[in-house]
């Protein structure tokens, strides 16, 4: 683990520089520990693929003390040994299944991915459902969860011209990441289907069906099931 300055009241902790479940688990574990030991000194945290941004109250605690607390709580070998065992089997992460209506109607880039990969559309749909994904980060927009990693055969670069309008629930692929757009927004991901589940709801608790560190599986559904679950086929522009 390496600590760098981010800003006047922020330190960023790096646990590696690749996308891997073990590294993501370390980030989560560090976040939970520091939440406990630093408590109200923390203003906010951002957990991402391999890093943890820690924002503290600079009028209440100084950076040297924060660094010492980080070292003391994360670098003690005994606690690491015990916790890493606990965390790989983790009691806290859960598996969330999300329904997706895959079709050319709801997934305008299915044909593009098919053309580029040589796979049939059914093969692409099956490959997307074949893996369990990890939630590596949440950001970009409220409730936007970055999931990884998709099968290399269906990995696809972002569109050269992003869409002005992606409908709520659109399921996309960018490189080896996949995600669901929680709301209508511009976006450049390759769209392959629509999910009827609300990914961000200010009025319900929890606000999101997933958290960083959770595992997600996708399950294909028919158009009728999609509509029954409250899904709507929005605008693609």
């Amino acid at each position: 683990m390496k600590i760098e300055v981010a800003g006047e009241n922020s330190l960023i902790l790096y646990f590696g520089d690749t996308t891997a479940p073990e590294i993501s688990a370390q980030v989560q574990q560090a976040s939970q520990k520091l939440t406990t030991v630093l408590g109200d000194y923390i203003i906010d945290q951002v957990t991402s693929y391999a890093s943890l941004l820690l924002i503290f109250d600079p009028l209440a605690i100084d950076q040297l003390t924060v660094r010492k607390i980080i070292h003391d709580s994360l670098n003690s070998d005994e606690s690491n040994a015990i916790d890493s065992n606990e965390n790989t089997t983790s009691s806290r992460q859960s598996i969330v299944e999300l329904p997706v209506y895959y079709s050319e109607e709801s997934g305008p880039e299915l044909s593009l991915i098919s053309k580029n990969s040589g796979l049939s559309i059914d093969e692409i749909i099956n490959l997307h459902q074949s893996l369990t994904y990890r939630v590596y980060a949440i950001g970009f927009a409220p409730g936007f969860a970055f999931l990884g990693q998709v099968d290399e055969r269906i990995a696809s670069p972002r569109l050269s011209t992003p869409r002005l309008k992606v409908p709520r629930g659109a399921v996309g692929i960018a490189d080896r990441q996949t995600a669901i757009y929680p709301d209508v927004s511009p976006g450049g991901w390759n769209l392959i289907g629509l999910c009827p589940s609300r990914m961000f709801d200010p009025d319900s608790t929890p606000h999101m069906p997933v958290s960083v560190g959770d595992e997600v599986r996708f399950k294909g559904i028919s158009k009728d099931e999609f509509l029954d679950l409250g899904g709507e086929i929005g605008d693609y522009r």
Partner: protein, 324 residues
């Protein structure tokens, strides 16, 4: 909203929203885990003074009026204060001073002209505007459809509830002395805490960054201010997305810095050379495109000391009572 139609409405009515007027409190914190940004005032010091003049809570909800053009009608007797930018302020077509409190009667019309140099104005009412917080804050972030009245900028006809303060309850008016007000004009030096990917910028590139002048471009909003200047290069080809703190200086492939502000995305994958000292952010956000910027390095320890000193000075600066 907690104002039912059959109760007496006390508050303000928006006659004209102006260029961009947003309800803001100090910001929305502790919600980065679900992707929510901070929002909050672009000029925190002026925001603080507006509430301080009225003895409001430090987190009270005010209007941030950018550039100007905001016109309000009061439906209540109360006291107000306006701080920040330099747009002319009038009450019932009479020009009045900013940086001080004024008594307002029901039916009064308050109008902002347009800013010449300093662009962000803070309009506070006694007790703050009473709107329902979302995720713990009334800060408006239009991109997230959160805060304010319905997640968007003020519109003509909007009703902004606040409590009534009778004239008898107003004991005095107060102002911030001229010498205690921030000066937004003149040379703009923004102090930078080096950090994040600074090691991926060579000494030559850092020297270029700290010894060149940059200009505020016209691509500026509450997410970030894009600057133009000499191209700053980095050897870094790609990186994983990571958390972005307030004031972070992102250097995309074109080498033109972007200073990320209140409504920034919480994560991103462009290299960052460091972050601007928060005390210097209002110098930036008050200014118009074309304004010239220089950067100066400051260590994290010195930055923390500056924050303590600024806090001490602010706490120990008194407002001046104006005799009626």
């Amino acid at each position: 909203m907690n104002s039912s139609s059959n109760s007496i409405q006390t508050g303000f009515k928006v006659i004209q929203p102006g260029i961009l007027s947003l309800l803001q409190d100090a910001g929305r914190f502790g919600k980065h885990n679900i992707g929510l940004t901070n929002g909050g005032p672009l000029d925190k010091l002026s925001y603080n003074w507006a509430n301080r003049l009225l003895n409001n809570d430090v987190n009270a909800c005010v209007i941030e009026a950018s550039i100007g053009g905001l016109v309000l009608e009061s439906l209540v007797d109360t006291q107000i204060a306006v701080t920040g930018g330099d747009a002319e302020l009038s009450i019932n077509n009479q020009t009045v001073a900013s940086w001080q409190t004024h008594s307002i009667k029901s039916g009064d019309k308050i109008a902002f002209g347009f800013a010449q140099n300093a662009t962000r104005h803070y309009f506070a009412v006694k007790g703050g505007f009473q709107v329902e917080p979302m995720f713990g804050s009334c800060a408006t972030v239009a991109r997230e459809k959160l805060g304010g009245l319905n997640g968007s900028a003020l519109q003509a006809g909007d009703y902004l509830p606040c409590s009534s303060v009778s004239q008898a309850e107003v004991t005095h008016q107060s102002k911030v002395s001229l010498s205690d007000r921030p000066n937004y004009l003149g040379e703009m030096i923004l102090r930078v805490v080096l950090g994040y990917q600074e090691a991926a910028f060579s000494d030559l590139e850092k020297a270029r960054f700290f010894n060149s002048k940059f200009t505020i471009s016209d691509k500026c909003d509450r997410m970030g201010f894009r600057l133009t200047g000499p191209e700053i290069k980095t050897d870094l080809k790609s990186m994983l997305s990571e958390g972005i703190c307030f004031g972070a200086i992102q250097i995309p492939a074109d080498g033109q810095p972007i200073i990320l502000l209140n409504d920034r995305q919480t994560i991103g994958g462009y290299p960052k050379i460091g972050s601007i000292l928060s005390l210097d952010i209002p110098k930036l956000t008050q200014r118009l495109p074309g304004s010239v910027i220089h950067f100066e390095a400051i260590s994290m320890n010195d930055a923390q000391q500056q924050l303590h000193l600024a806090h001490y000075r602010y706490q120990n600066t008194q407002t001046t009572i104006i005799k009626d």
